[in-house]
Amino acid sequence: MNDEMRERLAAYLDGALSPEDRATVEAQLARSEELRRELESLKALSATLKSLPREKLPPGFFARLEARRHRALKPRTWVFLPPAARPLAFAMSTAVVALVVWDKTRAPESIHVPVGWQGDRAAVVSEADAPTAQFDFAKQVTGAAAGGSGLAANQTIAVAPAAPAPAAARKAARAPGAPLEVAEPAATAFVARSEEERSAFNERQHEYLEKAKKEMGIAKVIQRADSEDDIALDVAEPPAARVSERRLGGVAAVRGAASSQRLGAMSAGPSDDPDATRARAKVVALLLTGPETLQAAWTASGAAGDPPAADFKTQAVAMLPEPGLIVGIQDGKKARIIRWRPVGGEPVLRFHIVPASDKPTRFVQVPPAP
C-alpha cells in the first residue's frame, strides 16, 4: 500500500471524499484485508487523540481577562510641565539643538604640524601647507656631527625596499587526466521562509541521516587469537567492501566488509590449533566509552527514549548483542571479564552501565537460568 492510498483512506475517515471517491474506497476496503487493517489503525490513532480531556476554564479566568483587558486599554500618561517651567524647558531644548547644529557645521580648526628644522628651531606650517610626507627620503640626511648620532654629516641613508610579499604558493601542475581539486563549498546556514520549507528541510535531513546510518556496518567485539589482551573486530553481515578501522570515542567501529584474510581465519572450520579455536570465540558485545557512540548505538538498536546517562570519566556502557542482564564482572590481571545472561524483552535491556576500566574487556555469555 503506498502513501497515496493511505492518505486517501485518511480522507475517507475524515469524511473529506466526494461521494464517488467514497464509494470507490468502500469497494476497495471490501476487497482488501490490508486496507481494512490500515483503516482500523487510523481509527485507533484518532480515538487516542480524542481521549485528551476537555478542561473547564480555570477559576477566575474571566476576572483576570477583564483586568488584563483594562490594562491593555489604559491610555498613555503624558507629563505636563507647570506653565512657569515651560519657557526654560523650551530654551534649554533649543540650546541643545543649536549646539548640535553648530558642532556639525563648523569649519575644522587649522592644525599646525612641525615640519623639519630651520636652524635651531622647528619650522611650523599649517596642516594645509604640510607636505604629504614629513620625511623626504630622496634628500640627504643632515644633522648632528658624526659620532653623535652615528651618522656622518651628509651621509645618505639607504632605505631598503620593503621585503617583497611572499610569493603565492604555486599550484602543482595537474597531470593530464587527473581529477580537479575543488574546494568544498562553504556551508551556508539554511533560513526557512515558511513552515513548509522548514518541514521539507527537516525531512530531507532526516532521510539523509537514516541513509547514512544504513550505510554503516555493524561492529562486534571478539577476541583476537594471539593475545587475550587485544580486542579484535569483525562485522556481523559483511557487505562487499574493504574493511577500515576508525576509533570512535573508544569503540573501534568497522565499516564495510571484513578483510578475507583475517575473517577467513576467524571463520575457519574446526582446527587442532588452540589459538584458532580461541579466535573463533563468540562475538558478544560492545563497550561504549563516549556519548556519541552511545547515542548512535542506542538509535541503531531501535530503543525508545534516551540512552542511560553515564559519567564517562568513571563509567562505560556495555551494549549486549541481545537483551540480557549482567551477572558478574571479574577484574583479571590482563583483562576484565563481564558475564551476561540473555533474558529476552525490550531493546533497552541491551544497555548497562558498568565501571570504566583501563584493561581490555571481554564479554562472556552464560546460559539462561533453568
Partner: protein
C-alpha cells in the same frame, strides 16, 4: 453578537485549543486571554465571512505562532546578551512565573495516557500540531482548518497525513518502552 455571548460560546474552546498547543495550563491561560482580547477588539468588524469559531481559532493560532517566534528570538538573545534581557513582553504584560500551576504532564498522574499523547503532540511542528488538534479534537473540515491557518485544503490534507504518521510512530515507540 454581544461580547458576553461571544465569550460564553468561545472562551472555553479557545482555552482548550491553547491548552493543546502549549501543553501547559499557565501558558494556555495566557495565550487564551491574549487571543480573546484580540478577538473582542476585532469583533465589531467581524462580518461572518467564516464561522465565528474558525475565525477565533485563526486568531488563537496566530497569537500562538507569534509567541513561539518571540520566544525563539528571546532564547537566542538570552545566549548572547548574558543576562541583559529586556523583560517587557511586546505581546502583552509581563508573564507571571508558573510557580503554582504544574505543566500538564506533571498534573495528570492519574491520566498517564493523555500526558503521553500531549507529549507526542508537542513534538510536532507548529502548523502540524494546530492541524491535528483542529481536526481530531475540534473536528473541523480540511477547508475550515485551511481557513484558520491560511493554508490550502490540499496542503492541510497532506500535512495531516504526515503528522498522523509521525504521531503513530511516536506513540508506538513510547508504548514499546
Amino acid at each position: 453578537m454581544s461580547e458576553s455571548e461571544f465569550l460564553e460560546r468561545h472562551a472555553e474552546l479557545v482555552y482548550n485549543l491553547a491548552l493543546r498547543l502549549t501543553g501547559n495550563r499557565t501558558d494556555a491561560e495566557d495565550l487564551a486571554q491574549d487571543a480573546l482580547i484580540r478577538a473582542l477588539k476585532a469583533l465589531p468588524g467581524f462580518r461572518g465571512e467564516s464561522q465565528a469559531s474558525t475565525w477565533v481559532y485563526r486568531i488563537t493560532v496566530n497569537a500562538w505562532k507569534n509567541r513561539v517566534r518571540s520566544e525563539k528570538r528571546r532564547a537566542f538573545w538570552r545566549t548572547v546578551s548574558f543576562g541583559f534581557i529586556d523583560t517587557d513582553d511586546e505581546d502583552g504584560p509581563v508573564r507571571e512565573p508558573a510557580a503554582d500551576e504544574p505543566p500538564l504532564d506533571q498534573g495528570l498522574e492519574k491520566e498517564e495516557g493523555s500526558s503521553v499523547v500531549q507529549k507526542a503532540l508537542l513534538q510536532l511542528e507548529e502548523n502540524d500540531r494546530a492541524i491535528v488538534i483542529l481536526r481530531e479534537l475540534e473536528e473541523k473540515s480540511y477547508e475550515e482548518i485551511g481557513d484558520a491557518l491560511d493554508l490550502p485544503a490540499g496542503t492541510v490534507k497532506s500535512r495531516l497525513f504526515r503528522a498522523r504518521a509521525k504521531l503513530k510512530t511516536l506513540l508506538e515507540r513510547t508504548h514499546a518502552s
